[in-house]
Point group: C2
Chain length 375, copies 2
């Protein structure tokens, strides 16, 4: 019996930075570290523990200083849930530099253990009543505005036909705009604008909050008329997304924000690759849209990084629905056609500052973008 004769085995591609001659030893060490976490000679041959040791399925030299190691793990190492899946993928090995997770292949028997995105691209489109065109999103800010002021911005956004109007991820429950008041006012403002436009824009409330409040805030947001929520897995834990996606009572779209997750991706030789973290894992957790900083804005993700995320939002992943890539972070208005060309129609364009700059003319500015999105 080996890992691969056990059910639900999955594989991780680790990119090892260092002399290829060391790669075999490094890969074998990872296979132990991520499972039994003991030297091989302390594992009784033939024991169940021995069967759970990761198996180095392939080693391929990329260049003189880089080797990809594919390690296969038994589903029994996970047993339950996303936290332990993350732990098997990269728990202890994350603490070692020059190892980067660049690939993750999960069988349907494993993805079936997760609820996955409740809405996905099709479900979000249905809610918005927008069958085909790229979607437009903006963020309510800055921090420091009152709930009424933020609601005023939300109203102008919805009048302008912005499909998804989300809290800035830094709006929590500060005294300047307490959660309950902010959500009620913003949801009401968007509903009022919808009555005028005949469209179906939604307001997404930020529920990144202390652990004991996240779920309650999600339900409160729904009760107050929010059409979705924004959550930052780096601040509250990725499995909070899964918990919400699994909750039939909650039943709203979830947008994931990358705050505090940057350290996981920004070093090219350690951490987890952009597509795996913001694509595969965020989708597995059940987000319906995944925000990431587009290249060429004020962040430094490359075009290839962004393409990898977008690809992972739609690639086959068991029976899980595809989700929306949501490029953001200093997207200038004149880049809209280019982004639609690159990402296609199944994209949410998150344009914050460039839209807010319009002030009172925001509805007109938003309509100008919308005109570019609906040919």
């Amino acid at each position: 019996m080996t890992t691969e004769t056990l059910p639900d085995h999955f594989s991780v591609v680790y990119r090892l930075h260092g002399p290829p001659a060391q790669a075999e030893r490094t890969a074998a060490a990872i296979a132990l570290e991520q499972t039994v976490e003991l030297p091989a000679d302390l594992i009784a041959p033939g024991s169940f523990s021995a069967q759970l040791i990761g198996r180095v399925a392939a080693l391929s030299v990329v260049d003189a200083t880089t080797t990809d190691a594919v390690i296969s793990y038994a589903g029994a190492t996970v047993g339950e849930g996303l936290p332990q899946l993350l732990n098997v993928i990269f728990g202890n090995s994350s603490l070692i530099p020059n190892i980067r997770v660049v690939g993750l292949t999960l069988p349907a028997s494993l993805t079936d253990r997760f609820p996955g995105p409740r809405f996905g691209r099709a479900g979000v489109r249905q809610r918005l009543g927008v069958p085909a065109r790229p979607l437009l999103c903006t963020a309510l800010k800055p921090l420091g505005l009152s709930a009424s002021e933020l609601a005023g911005v939300a109203y102008r956004c919805a009048l302008g036909g912005v499909d998804l109007i989300k809290d800035d991820h830094g709006l929590a429950d500060q005294p300047s705009a307490p959660f309950a008041e902010r959500v009620a006012r913003c949801a009401e403002a968007v509903a009022r604008a919808n009555d005028e436009t005949g469209e179906r824009s939604i307001y997404l409330a930020n529920i990144s909050a202390p652990a004991h409040l996240v779920h309650a805030r999600a339900l409160a947001a729904r009760a107050a008329g929010a059409g979705g929520v924004l959550i930052a897995p780096g601040l509250v834990g990725l499995d909070m997304v899964r918990q919400l996606a699994a909750d039939a009572q909650f039943n709203l779209p979830i947008m994931a924000h990358p705050a505090f997750q940057g350290s996981i991706v920004v070093s090219p030789t350690s951490g987890v690759a952009h597509g795996v973290l913001f694509g595969t894992l965020t989708r597995l957790a059940g987000a319906d849209a995944t925000i990431f900083p587009n290249d060429g804005g004020r962040f430094t993700f490359t075009r290839a990084d962004c393409a990898a995320i977008a690809a992972a939002t739609g690639a086959p992943l068991g029976g899980l629905a595809p989700i929306f890539p949501t490029p953001a972070g200093g997207v200038a208005l004149e880049r809209v056609p280019e982004l639609v060309e690159r990402y296609g129609h199944d994209v949410i364009l998150l344009i914050g500052g460039a839209l807010l700059r319009a002030g009172a003319a925001l509805p007109t500015a938003a309509r100008a973008i919308r005109a570019q999105l609906a040919p």
Copy 2:
């Protein structure tokens, strides 16, 4: 009015890697990004938002490619809780390479908003009945053993006088040793050994679990006789620690494990410094002990990294109790005297594989270490 005339202001030191001539601009960008998240010209002068913009309090050139920027933030940017504090410290800026958080200074008025460690060093010592010597800890493993087999290991550890006997962080709720059965058997085994030795060893159950189960598992572990819990903030979110530390009903020591947090620290030019993450923030969340891989084992933290973590566990932090640094990760038996010399008596030495190697002779091997710890 500026940030620093508002209450509860705190400061973060960002190490900027790049030409010092660019540092002023980068620091100003961080001060905006972490607060109002808009260009400065979109913030109305004199508005409350303008007051919330971080203030660059100091810039100091470290060397030709490194500058430290101290940015001061108003407590009103946080409003509530740890997730939003993390967001202000490094939410979006984590997505930008060549910025590393190397310092964090929190006023007592801000730390007072957190429960902090419920036990700290003194409380853990009281529970264990060990007033002064270094403490000994080991991990139950490997994954794949049955609950009875793990309990057998726990029994031998406790017979040998290991003070803290924790689940390996990879023991979740796998079929090989389901949580409820494992915790009941291990807690019973340690209690039985305590009856024989007259000592007060404790078993710490791993409660890193799906989000909706973490708190319930903590209470279940307590009910089953566990004397503490192990939790990996990188897997379940740092604020889960705070939630447990705040819970008077739970009321057990908490040990934090660094699984999946490595990516945050391993790049020297991005992420968060070891002492800030595994020291200050983990203590602020309320862990009573913080595990980290010691230098010279099978991980690559440096001696300085480890010293920074240890220092942060005991440095002044509002009124919060000092906690135990817990060096681990391939600690060889012959290094015990050196570690005690370095870390002093207020340390938990986590020795896994090197103890488990003793097999049936584990009690004798553990007693040999204990003899070195109690002069």
